[in-house]
């Protein structure tokens, strides 16, 4: 345990607009997001001695993190890297920032994200671009037509087969996110939708419809992590990081489904519909000293509706196989037992990657969500998920 004054807290957040932002580019978005976070807490950029960025679709390169630091005028860092675990990178970055702060390696770490995958790519090229980026195994999956929606469709189909999960139950997740986005002036997609609307939207890859899939959208964000001692003198209310957990498994779906190479005692524990998020959750809840029943609000990474449904099970909110029923009867909407994605999530707020889930989680702990605020929220959960629901990071945040 670090001495109390050395405890890492989230001191600042910055979130540029999302949408189709034809007039900008990833580097400018990184700069905007960083400046918003610095202004949010009133910290000077000279105090930042750690910088973590993430791989972008556009304008990425081996020195990405150094270029951003140059643009921001942050000369000497003691932690500086580009995190390349996809959407999972942000809570992973938060974890690295926490370790850096609490060990004394850094005094203030900036996590920053910005990408223009919507305006920066020709329409309809998204799926192909992802393939070219190396998102899928080139030799054994791409030749058979694997795509990102296809990956999650295979997981959803298996879940329906094993547990009787329905399209209506998946759709309830999209409906909840859209309802919350309708209360968020900054969201990309705000017009309310119904379960029937989701099922009527074109099928992308069975069983996932278009409205089961998050839209491609430009966006970004920045977070500043520093010591509690420093944060106390800053403008914004600090948010506690009660516990973080991480777990990563596989990439090739056959290996994931078979739990190839897993320890004997884990072979039955993991598979396509049983993810290693359970390990990350054990770590996060254990370190925070709370249980799922203590969570007031959750920002769950929502690349697809199935991505979320699995998490109700693997995080421990319900038993394996009961994720579908968990989504019903407004349980996951504001006013329900476990409101999720109060900004609208990837599914309706937009952006890409997992930094905006953290930002909304911080806002909930600050009491700053206005109409979307969960009354008296004390403990919040945030998750990031990437690859084939096989890269996980889980954070539990607390009101200071």
């Amino acid at each position: 345990m670090p001495p109390p004054h050395r405890r890492a807290v989230i001191a600042g957040i910055g979130e540029p607009p999302v949408g189709r932002l034809s007039e900008t580019n990833p580097m400018e978005m990184h700069v905007r997001a960083a400046r918003l976070a610095l202004d949010d807490c009133g910290m000077g950029k000279h105090e930042i001695d750690g910088l973590l960025s993430s791989g972008t679709f556009l304008n990425d390169n081996i020195r990405h993190h150094m270029l951003i630091a140059e643009q921001l005028g942050i000369y000497a860092k003691s932690l500086c890297d580009t995190l390349r675990t996809g959407g999972q990178s942000y809570i992973h970055g938060l974890h690295l920032a926490k370790w850096a702060i609490e060990s004394g390696q850094c005094e203030a770490v900036l996590l920053v994200r910005g990408d223009t995958t919507l305006s920066g790519m020709p329409k309809g090229e998204g799926v192909k671009a992802y393939v070219e980026y190396g998102a899928h195994p080139i030799e054994f999956e791409v030749p058979f037509g694997m795509t990102v929606p296809g990956v999650y469709a295979l997981v959803a189909a298996r879940h329906m087969h094993e547990f009787g999960t329905t399209s209506e139950q998946l759709a309830a997740i999209a409906v909840a996110c859209r309802r919350h986005a309708s209360m968020n002036p900054a969201a990309f997609k705000r017009e309310p939708i119904t379960v029937a609307d989701v099922l009527a939207s074109p099928m992308v890859s069975t069983p996932l419809h278009r409205l089961d899939c998050s839209p491609i959208c430009d966006g970004g964000g920045a977070i500043i992590v520093t010591t509690l001692e420093r944060a106390r003198d800053l403008k914004a209310r600090p948010v506690e990081i009660l516990g973080i957990g991480e777990a990563q498994s596989y990439y090739h779906m056959g290996h994931l489904a078979r739990a190839t190479g897993a320890r004997q005692q884990d072979k039955a524990r993991f598979g396509l519909t049983r993810t290693v998020q359970a390990i990350a959750a054990e770590q996060a809840f254990g370190r925070a000293g709370v249980t799922p029943a203590d969570i007031d609000v959750a920002q769950l990474y929502d690349s697809f509706t199935i991505t979320v449904l699995l998490q109700f099970e693997d995080l421990g909110f319900c038993a394996k196989g009961e994720g579908g029923a968990f989504c019903e009867n407004g349980r996951i909407e504001l006013g329900g037992e476990l409101p999720i994605n109060t900004n609208g999530g990837l599914l309706s707020f937009g952006s890409s990657g997992g930094i905006n889930h953290i930002i909304e989680g911080v806002r909930q702990m600050r009491g700053a969500c206005g109409e979307r605020q969960v009354p008296d929220a004390q403990v919040g959960l945030v998750t990031n998920v990437s690859a084939v629901s096989s890269n996980h990071s889980v954070a539990i945040l607390g009101r200071h």
Partner: protein, 129 residues
């Protein structure tokens, strides 16, 4: 974009050659007797490097499947992407060749068909039994 073709590696060349020969072979670990897919340099189960290329039956069942009309390359009609669990144990991604994709179900028995998609490459695919 047309279907991207695999580029065989040192580990996988015998696999792709077995596909061209229309006689699928996989590595069998001599130590723990596990059949391995995809081709590797050491057994991911027990760590042994005693791996022997061995013919397999080509029969399996559907572990999961998805039907799409919008893949990363153009197709004539819907594409069925499936995870096929081979009799011998491994699960491999492939396509199911069938005139009626809507009738496929998880658990259905399938058997291998060899699609000579290019002079140098044959892809293993499956059809319902």
């Amino acid at each position: 974009m047309s279907r991207p073709l695999p580029a065989p590696t040192k580990a996988s060349l015998p696999f792709w050659q077995s596909c061209r020969n229309h006689a699928l072979e996989l590595q069998l670990c001599g130590t723990c007797r596990t059949y391995l897919y995809y081709p590797v340099y050491m057994c991911p189960e027990c760590g042994s490097d005693e791996l022997v290329w061995t013919p397999v039956s080509g029969r399996g069942s559907i572990h999961s499947l998805t039907v799409t009309t919008r893949s990363s390359f153009e197709t004539d009609g819907p594409l069925v992407v499936a995870l096929v669990e081979l009799e011998e144990g491994p699960i491999m991604m492939s396509n199911i060749v069938t005139p009626e994709p809507g009738k496929l179900r998880i658990g259905d028995a399938v058997t291998i068909v060899y699609e000579d998609v290019a002079p140098e490459i044959t892809l293993p695919m499956f059809r319902p039994e």
